[in-house]
Symmetry: C3
């Protein structure tokens, strides 16, 4: 057994010996359960094609904006890390930079995942990470990813992944998903997720072109707003036919608005012509959040909503490195009043599931737990993005449980592009759940028997229930 | 002694053995002190008439929107639980539904209280709760509530209730309170609380009719706004004469506004005619919050304020089941600027007490503790409604103590309709106070001697001080 | 060794014995390191002149609005405490009042610091504090402050202060700083800090007069806005020449705005004439925050920003006792969108340092850690003012570390007027850092070796790095 902290059996468990001992027993019940990952950003082609992962930098650094952003904050140029397809980056040199700065990641979620990947996925002694052994580590990883047991499908199986959802453009043909579904040698379920944001935000790059293509490709022949709605519904049907269980919406705010077709159509046309004001663009997005809920009630796709992020905060970095380059910054969110129009009409609709995510922790006790503790449609989304780390996950449980108990949880969401980090993320979540429940047991607030049932429920049954899996 | 966790002597105390031992010693000092309950929603007639409680469902389920809301979120129709006087509900069938879903309440505040009621009030083994023994439990409870020692007054005495405030309509004749006060066989104090919200909110059901009745019944003969203010003052005097110590205000926001009489009168007339805009309704409410503070300075009633809840969030549920049916949802609150006009004029007024409640936990360290740490009139309201559970109560103490210490607390507020839950709620609060103080002692931040003085002060003296009892 | 809790070697360390033992070892590494205090409010003349401190009330009570505000909240008149130069206050009587109310401070940050000052600075048994021994304590302190080893410079040395920054008016001649720098008998560094708020806020007392004086005294001969900008830049150069490392900005909000010179000049002229609206005043302040960032990029002064406080909340108290009399109250703050214009232009500028402080804890995980985890210019300011106490400091580390790790911290900021409290404040911070890191070690999240490196870094290197010391 490795002496690394990443392999310590008590990692993330509470320090108090009595509580830790309860947590250990709870963890043992779920530690080896299969992984259900109902929302993430791995590309289905990675599994469909099953080609070896690239070099260590391309695998672990360049595409992971959690990692590159903290290096950037400490003075590293993103171009030197290969972010956003920077052309001339030397992957080995980028790797050396990362190794020199490894200490920056102590205490961070990314550091926890990376260390776990090194130790638990690749069997590497994490004492090697650092400037001194950078090249040795690079060569070791490079050689490993070339081996059959480190190809994507082999890892998928080793990780115990049962279900993994991807996130896809509405016009994606989903060929990779179809290929995987048809492949009898691959037992996992890889499900597409419908993500229409780019077809809703007037200010997005190429909105009009995208919307026209959507209507032309997937509509029913009608033009304008009517054709647009039809096309979206048709593509949802296409996703459903390929196994999709949910549609994901990254809106600016949680605002929802019921507009009549004429008014919505007027806004849509202004958006297409590039003449809509910022207020009109927000109103249209809010009206579409309402429309997507209506569609979800009709077709049964689970609706996930994660508003509240100022995308591409640094225009200079966006110009150089494109989207998802590490400067999406959260801001305060409001759900109670924003969602009222949607929930007034669909909150108690049969079979409607609305999973509310947030990066603004203040809404957990104030808004989301009260909403999920009343509306049968509303699920409390697990802590997400900047707050999917152990302390924040404990704060989350502490914030929502008194009001909503355990039954209204979405289950853990890894939401990751970093395929090799999936086991570490789910493991961290399971350890955190065990820690939280162990405290309640130690404080005689729930019985050990019930805690045992609850941990299996929140780890395994909750995501299946919330995402209709 | 029961083996239930609800009877465990260390329930809710911190897991660390050293800290727990300190907490036990502190708890022992307050565990048996009488209960002072300066704000709640039990009907005084329950005690005045002392009739037996109804069936178990009518006692513990139907009227408790904490309980029915979580069942509803998990797919139970409110009508099947007898919410809002649903006509054809079979109480025994509702009870079976509750028992089948008992596991939902693990970890929730309601679950903690209910379990404690079963075990500590009714002497029932909580292992019985569940689908299997639902009828047995129902029959057992039904038989108990018929016995003399489970009548309201007997329980009042058994619970060690010394003072219990009710919440009453300004036009209530307070006959039940008078009857209790005059009854030499009843030693408790049951005090009315003046709650004028329905006479202030233009959008409330029947506002104009209520306001006219108020002016006609209680005014000094003058009409319009002047008569309205006089009538409110007269009714406050009536409440004071019946032992009231406080007036309670459930406003939409914390906004306060000093309007001259002409402007306020103009808004009032528009409100009566149903012609006021939402902005005008809010302005009038804000101006009345200011006026109620002025009256409190004059007549000495303690002013309690609890803004920040979107009432009746689901219009469909409201139409079917009326108010208080479980879908009042909090939203973010602001106090610093909202209260400035009121505090500028009355913040240092002799004998003015303003207790600020919140469900938005973010204001504890940011706004309420700083306000209460300066203004002699401002008291920090205990965590209320969705946040009156152990974890949130610990977060509350952690948030306010560094700035405001312990002297500015309102003391615990149970705010409950559920009479039988009162001891469990106060017990949970006392255990939480002991836990918090024990940690400070364990960390050598306060001495054990001072902790002993402080816990007696916050449990017993604080509510008497804040509410002038 | 004193039996006081203030002298207990384990004070503020976590109760769990295993974690405490780790914390002790970590604390030992930093407990005796020199104090670096890059932001505070001690007057440089106190050290330049090295005159004895005044009476105990003048030393510990009257000027400390943390102390006087809580006494005021509990019914003590500020005039009786000598606040704001109240003319006829008897210092001994004020001292007696303080001693009678000593129990109010249990659990507060002020109480912790005061107790530590009594015990660890003055060698006084804190059991003496209270009504009974008030005069004895007064006399004892009075006699001590007259002794050479309690003069400011002797204490500066005893405290292990290496660097201490003051906060100064832009037109201050900085003679006291110059005198200290030239004095070969004084080894400490006492650095001025440029604080231009009074020259930016139109609504401040005497704004126009101050701005005219600034332009006349320090400008380059040009008038109006151009002269104003020049004068500010000239004074910054004057501060730099006297050792300043930072400029401090107490803005109303975090809003930043890039205005062209003509528009900014128009607002400035309206401000001078007293004709600007509140909106215009805010816009001008926002534009100046942008301008000060531009200047910081050019001249290298570190920029510290601490918005979000409603100053002088009680007009009556302000009229009687002036500013800083205890009723500055925080409100909710927003940074993500407010700072975007500034960060868009300067966020990645070479050598620009922007330290973001907040009293609104909600922004730590939501906004500040994400910003500091991307922009190389942004540092996470330590918890400040109402939240610079142990629990809030632990919440702070818990909130930011998962996203930003430890490298982006400003280091501890005492921000104090109370010279004798400086060691207690830094000691509390070091103990809190040890406690937080010890928990991560106990949970196997970081290694003990790395924790040892990190605590030295956050205590000693971080403030030097963030403040270019």
């Amino acid at each position: 057994m490795s002496a690394s902290i990443a392999a310590h059996p008590d990692r993330l468990l509470p320090a108090d010996p009595g509580t830790r001992s309860i947590a250990r027993a709870l963890l043992a019940l779920v530690e080896d359960l299969p992984i259900v990952s109902p929302h993430g950003h791995v590309d289905a082609r990675v599994l469909a094609e099953n080609t070896p992962f690239p070099d260590p930098t391309g695998l672990l650094i360049s595409p992971d904006h959690y990692v590159t952003r903290l290096l950037h904050a400490n003075g590293v140029a993103l171009a030197d890390l290969g972010v956003g397809g920077a052309p001339d980056t030397d992957p080995r040199e980028a790797w050396r930079i990362f190794c020199r700065h490894w200490g920056l990641f102590d205490g961070t979620a990314s550091g926890y995942w990376l260390r776990s990947e090194f130790v638990n996925v690749f069997g590497i002694d994490d004492a090697l990470i650092g400037a001194e052994h950078a090249d040795e580590l690079y060569d070791r990883l490079q050689s490993l990813v070339g081996q059959p047991e480190f190809r994507p499908r082999a890892l998928f199986e080793r990780f115990g992944l049962e279900v993994m959802a991807t996130t896809d453009d509405p016009l994606d043909d989903l060929a990779a998903h179809a290929r995987l579904a048809a492949d009898r040698t691959f037992a996992g379920r890889v499900l597409p997720t419908f993500r229409p944001d780019a077809y809703v935000k007037f200010s997005g790059a190429g909105f009009a072109e995208k919307a026209h293509r959507l209507i032309d490709t997937a509509g029913d022949g009608s033009t304008g707003y009517a054709g647009y709605l039809h096309a979206l519904q048709n593509r949802r049907a296409h996703f459903l036919a390929h196994g999709a269980v949910s549609a994901d919406h990254g809106t600016l705010t949680a605002r929802t608005l019921k507009l009549d077709a004429a008014e919505a159509g007027r806004l849509f046309e202004k958006g297409l012509r590039g003449e809509a004001t910022a207020e009109e663009a927000e109103a249209f997005e809010a009206s579409m959040t309402y429309q997507f809920a209506r569609m979800a009630v009709e077709d049964g796709l689970v609706m996930t909503l994660h508003p509240g992020v100022h995308r591409n905060h640094s225009p200079e970095t966006f110009a150089r490195h494109g989207a998802d380059s590490g400067h999406d910054i959260p801001f305060a969110m409001e759900y109670t009043r924003a969602l009222q129009p949607l929930l007034a009409d669909f909150g108690t609709a049969e079979n409607f599931h609305l999973v509310l995510f947030t990066i603004d922790e203040t809404v957990f006790s104030r808004e989301i737990a009260p909403l999920a503790g009343f509306y049968p449609s509303v699920y409390v989304g697990a802590p997400w993005w900047f707050i999917d780390e152990p302390d924040a996950m404990l704060r989350f449980r502490s914030a929502v449980t008194g009001t909503a108990g355990f039954s209204r949880s979405s289950g853990f969401i890894d939401d990751t592009r970093a395929f090799c980090s999936i086991p570490a993320r789910h493991d961290a979540s399971r350890r955190t759940e065990a820690s939280f429940l162990a405290r309640l047991v130690a404080e005689h607030r729930i019985s050990e028997e019930r805690a045992a049932e609850i941990i299996v429920d929140v780890v395994d049954a909750a995501p299946r229930r919330a995402f209709k899996l």
